[in-house]
Structure formats: structure tokens, C-alpha cells
């Protein structure tokens, strides 16, 4: 029960942050150079459409009234109409969100499994030749522009070797009965492979370095020494006590990585023409489709903030010192 209070206060705090981000977004799109109506109204809309939008978003009223209308609309999930698609922004975003989430989570899961294992291994081989060789490479992967890595993989595996398709989520002409059958098809997975690999290579550095340094610290702890004195098996000592304790902060970092990854997706989705939120944001900004850009930005921000919260909560639940206080 005692864990409930910090959870609630943290949640409340993040709702405030969300409100602040929403407000910044409002100001960003309202105070940009040019016609303030441009945030919602494209000149090519019919007069009736324009008037309906002016009414819905209170665009003829004061900035303050507009702000409250905007908040009210947001609470109802109302994000306006996309200029290019002539459809509600919310509809478009819900369509793209799964693609982004699939890409993000699959790449991070791969990155974390690899990073955790490799990090533990490097901790075990500390001060070895393997470490001297691996560490600069890991640091270098963190220094890579993700889109460049994507370009290199694309050039090699798609254009030179022809193993994987060059972009999109499915081959031309393929149809699927449901989203589920699409997402589980071999075609979809082969499209997913390269962008997923790109993001995974970029992201493995954080869990790897974290796991390594945590392992090095944990293996110096008294309870690890005691496990040796107890004559427990090396597996029990290294995995059950060493890795289990070192894993705690790494797991927390997963949620934070999701937030970072969503931002990095913007460029990688563009390289692989992956129809996700990031690519949509870029193309919407380029095409001055402001409502869509605003909606995509907001959705990304919501996931980032949500993941920050989950990171905190994970920590609370994974560490018995806090959850069983």
C-alpha cells in the first residue's frame, strides 16, 4: 500500500508535464510565422469545411479561448483534419502508430537481449583483449548517425545482395485479410528486418554498457562473495545473484529507451519509407500539413512521457527494497 502514494504523485507530476508539452505545442503552431489559421485550415478546403473548422477550434476567437477549445478538443481525441489526406488526423495517427510501435519494440527487444548478454560477458572478461577491442566499437555505434547505418545496410543487403526489400511494410500488390495476418506474414517481417536491425545496432550500446558496469559493481558486493563461500554453483553466483541484481537498472532503462527510440525513428523510418509516426511527422512538416504534424508530434510526446512514467514504476516494482518497504 505504501507504494501507492509515490506512484500517484509521479503520475500526477507527469500529467502536469503532459499539459505543459501540450501547451508548448499549441503555442508553437499558433505563434509560428504566417497566418494563425494555417494551423488548421488549408486554403483549398471548401468554405463550409473552413467554417466548420473555425467553429470547432474557435479560430475566430481570442488566443486564450482558442487554447481552452484546443484542450477540450484534445480531451475528446479531436486533432483536426489533415490537409493532404482530407481525413481526421486522429484516424491517420491510429493507423500509423502500430507500425512505429512494432519497429520500436522489436528493435529494442533485440538490442536489449544482445546488450544484456554481451554486457554481462564483457564484465566477466574485464581487462581482457576482448574488452579493449569491443568497447571502442560499442562507443562508435553510439556515435553513428542512425540513418547512415540504415543507408549502409540498405545498400548492402537490399541493393547489392538483394536479400531484403528496400522499403515499406509489404510488397506491391499483396493484400491481407486483417492487420494481424499482415504483421505475421513473412513479407512484412522481411520488410521489418533492415530498419529493425538498424535501430537495434544503434540501441544495443546503452544496455550493454549499463549491464557491464552494473555487473562489475554487483560482483564486488558482499552477497556475491558469500554466494562463493556457500559453495554455490558458478551459474547461481553469476546469473541468479550477479545478473539478477545488475539487470534492475537495465530494465528501467528499457522504458526510457523506448522514448528515445521513438525520436530516432523519425530518420530511420524516412530512410526505409516505413509508414510510421516519425516519417509522417517529417512529410507533414515538409508539406505544411500542420494538423497532422501537430498530431504526430503530440502522439510521440505522449508515448515518451508515458515511458518515463513506466520507467519509474518498473523500478518501484522490480526492486523489493522499494516495493516491500
Amino acid at each position: 500500500m505504501s507504494t501507492l502514494k509515490p506512484v500517484l504523485s509521479r503520475t500526477f507530476q507527469l500529467i502536469l508535464v503532459l499539459w505543459a508539452v501540450v501547451t508548448i505545442l499549441f503555442l508553437m503552431f499558433r505563434l509560428m510565422p504566417g497566418n494563425p489559421l494555417a494551423a488548421y485550415i488549408d486554403p483549398t478546403f471548401t468554405l463550409e469545411q473552413q467554417e466548420a473548422l473555425i467553429r470547432q477550434f474557435g479560430l475566430d476567437e481570442s488566443l486564450l479561448r482558442q487554447y481552452f477549445t484546443y484542450l477540450g478538443n484534445l480531451l475528446q481525441g479531436e486533432l483536426g483534419y489533415s490537409f493532404r489526406y482530407r481525413t481526421p488526423v486522429a484516424e491517420r495517427i491510429w493507423l500509423l502508430l502500430p507500425n512505429t510501435l512494432i519497429l520500436t519494440f522489436s528493435s529494442l527487444i533485440v538490442a536489449y537481449i544482445f546488450g544484456i548478454l554481451a554486457g554481462a560477458w564483457l564484465a566477466w572478461r574485464r581487462a581482457s583483449r576482448a574488452e579493449a577491442f569491443a568497447l571502442p566499437i560499442v562507443l562508435a555505434t553510439r556515435a553513428m548517425p542512425e540513418f547512415w547505418l540504415g543507408m549502409v545496410l540498405l545498400a548492402i543487403f537490399s541493393f547489392s545482395l538483394g536479400i531484403f526489400p528496400a522499403g515499406g511494410t509489404r510488397s506491391a500488390g499483396t493484400e491481407y485479410e486483417s492487420l494481424w495476418s499482415l504483421y505475421t506474414s513473412a513479407d512484412f517481417l522481411s520488410h521489418l528486418a533492415l530498419p529493425m536491425l538498424t535501430l537495434a545496432i544503434y540501441s544495443q550500446g546503452l544496455p550493454l554498457l549499463l549491464m557491464r558496469s552494473n555487473m562489475l559493481d554487483v560482483m564486488k558486493e558482499d552477497f556475491v562473495t558469500m554466494a562463493k563461500v556457500k559453495g554455490l554453483s558458478p551459474y547461481t553466483i553469476v546469473i541468479k545473484h550477479g545478473a539478477r541484481n545488475a539487470l534492475l537498472p537495465v530494465m528501467t532503462s528499457f522504458a526510457i529507451s523506448v522514448g528515445y527510440q521513438l525520436q530516432g525513428n523519425v530518420v530511420v523510418e524516412s530512410v526505409f519509407s516505413w509508414p510510421g509516426l516519425g516519417r509522417e511527422l517529417v512529410s507533414a512538416v515538409s508539406a505544411s500539413d500542420y494538423p497532422l504534424a501537430q498530431g504526430a508530434f503530440l502522439m510521440i510526446a505522449v508515448v515518451v512521457i508515458l515511458m518515463n512514467l513506466i520507467a519509474d514504476l518498473l523500478y518501484t516494482f522490480l526492486d523489493p527494497r522499494i516495493s516491500h518497504a
Binding site: L16, L18, P145, W148, G264, S270, L281
Partner: protein, 297 residues
């Protein structure tokens, strides 16, 4: 243990006084890369055989497009518009240096000031500033920079300002907690009781202890800034008047360099970015070992 036997020149001594991480192999490698990088940027016009945007022709008056490395004396070949890739790489160092240093300076400067004020004065000032930092943590960094760069005039400055508006948060939090621990130390307490002005205490007792941390976060920000600028340029929201490595990659990508397997075009800019950004990481690693020896290894 070794460096004590090496006679220390004045440069090393100055570095030491600034608490620069001499002696750490990683950091030294990083510093050397930075020096090469800075020299390249400064002497770009001397080093580059051509103007980076100049459209070149072969001796037969054909467009010198898509030349491979070594052909017609182009070290790294040419782009499909007939521009010299090596010269673009050399000039790209200028854009990277400009973005990296200005962004790092702004991030370290804003972050340090906010952290100092927040930690030193505490109370409602602290609450407000730290809530602001929370908000900055809630803003998706790259999308924010994209939107700002697109709405304002696309320029290096706008990109740098957009970055600084978000990235100050990390530095501010770290500096703040450092100031909090410093503030509780005896000598700061003593200075307060003896009636020294806040300004004097901050300048004399607190600032010297947090400058290394500011430098650490500044050196991390250099890498972030260069990577971000590359992404922004790659997406087409960069400064159209400057040749940056990100711009080169966008040019290559848009000109089908991938399907034509023009590796000589898009590999070098990426490597250049990796070198410079990892140099920043190496230096910050060395710094961390120096500042927090316990974390090292």
C-alpha cells in the same frame, strides 16, 4: 603511473590545471581527433582541392559526375552533380565544428546557470526550474528540432537554438545536485555566515567545483549536436547554404547513390561523423573517470 615520469610541458600543465583528462588513453585519442578536426575546419580552403559546391568538368568538357575515387585526380570521386566529395568532407568539418561548439557552449552555459541558481537558492525558484526540466524531458527532442527548424528560417542557428532549448535539462540536473552537496559543505556555510555575498560565494567556492562537470556535459553535447544537425540536414530541414556531412548524405540518398552502390559517396561522411562524435564520447569517458573515479572500469 607512467605519466609522472614523462616531463610535463606547459600544455600538459595547463590541461591539468583545467582538469582535462590527460593520461587517459580514451580521452587522449579523443583530444587528438578533435585537434585534427579543428585544424581541418580552420584550413579547409587550403586542404580542399575544389570549392565544395563547384560543378566540375572533365578535361573533355563533360560533366565530371559520378567519378570513382582516384579518377581524374578526385581523391574520393565526385557526386552525380559533378562536385568533389573530398572537398565536401573537408568543408563539412566547418559546419560540424560550428554546430558542435555553439550547441555545446549553449547547452553547458544554460544548464550550468539553471543548475547553479536552482541548487543554490532552492525553494520555489528551484521547484519552478526543475519542473521546467521535467517538461524538457517530456519533449521529444528530434521532432521538436525538426518542427522549429522547419517553421523558422532553416539555418544552423535555428537548429542550434532548438537543440539548446531541450538539451540544457541533463546538465542542469547534474549541476544542481552537485551544487546541493557543495552548499552543505563547511566552507560554503562558513562563507555564508560570515556575510559574503551570494555572488561571491558562487564565484569563489561553487563555480570552480562545477566547471569540470559543465565541460563534461559540454563535450557530450558536441556529439549530440553534430548527430542532430546531420539528421536535420538529412531530412531536408538544414541550412541550404552550408555543406554539412548530413547534407552530403541527403544529397547521396536523394540521388539514388544507394541503388547505384556509390559507396564512395555516402560512406565517408558517415565515417567522418562517427570519428568526431566518438571523440566526444571518448573525452567524456575520460572525464568521468577523472571526476568519478569509482565509476571507472
Amino acid at each position: 603511473m607512467l605519466e609522472t615520469t614523462v616531463p610535463e610541458g606547459p600544455v600538459i600543465r595547463i590541461f591539468r590545471a583545467m582538469k582535462l583528462p590527460v593520461g587517459d588513453n580514451f580521452a587522449m585519442a579523443g583530444l587528438i581527433i578533435y585537434v585534427i578536426f579543428a585544424l581541418t575546419a580552420i584550413f579547409a580552403p587550403v586542404l580542399a582541392p575544389y570549392e565544395p559546391t563547384e560543378i566540375l568538368y572533365t578535361v573533355d568538357y563533360d560533366l565530371a559526375s559520378d567519378l570513382l575515387p582516384g579518377q581524374e585526380g578526385h581523391i574520393l570521386g565526385t557526386t552525380s552533380l559533378g562536385r568533389d566529395i573530398f572537398s565536401q568532407i573537408v568543408f563539412g568539418a566547418r559546419a560540424a565544428l560550428l554546430v558542435g561548439l555553439t550547441a555545446a557552449f549553449m547547452v553547458a552555459f544554460i544548464g550550468t546557470i539553471v543548475g547553479l541558481i536552482s541548487g543554490y537558492y532552492g525553494g520555489w525558484v528551484d521547484t519552478i526550474l526543475m519542473r521546467l526540466a521535467d517538461v524538457a524531458f517530456g519533449i521529444p527532442f528530434l521532432p521538436f528540432v525538426i518542427v522549429i527548424s522547419a517553421f523558422l528560417e532553416p539555418s544552423i542557428w535555428n537548429t542550434v537554438i532548438a537543440m539548446a532549448l531541450v538539451l540544457w535539462r541533463d546538465t542542469a540536473r547534474v549541476i544542481r545536485s552537485q551544487v546541493l552537496t557543495l552548499r552543505s559543505r563547511g566552507y560554503v556555510e562558513a562563507a555564508r555566515v560570515s556575510g559574503s555575498s551570494d555572488f561571491k560565494i558562487i564565484l569563489r567556492h561553487i563555480a570552480p567545483n562545477i566547471v569540470p562537470l559543465s565541460l563534461l556535459y559540454g563535450s557530450i553535447a558536441i556529439g549530440w549536436a553534430i548527430l542532430t544537425e546531420a539528421s536535420i540536414s538529412f531530412l531536408g530541414f538544414g541550412d541550404p547554404n552550408s555543406i554539412s556531412w548530413g547534407f552530403m548524405l541527403q544529397d547521396a540518398f536523394a540521388s539514388q547513390a544507394l541503388s547505384r552502390q556509390a559507396y564512395h559517396w555516402f560512406i565517408p561522411p558517415g565515417l567522418a561523423i562517427i570519428f568526431v562524435v566518438s571523440a566526444g564520447f571518448f573525452i567524456s569517458r575520460g572525464y568521468e573517470n577523472l571526476l568519478f573515479p569509482k565509476l571507472g572500469r
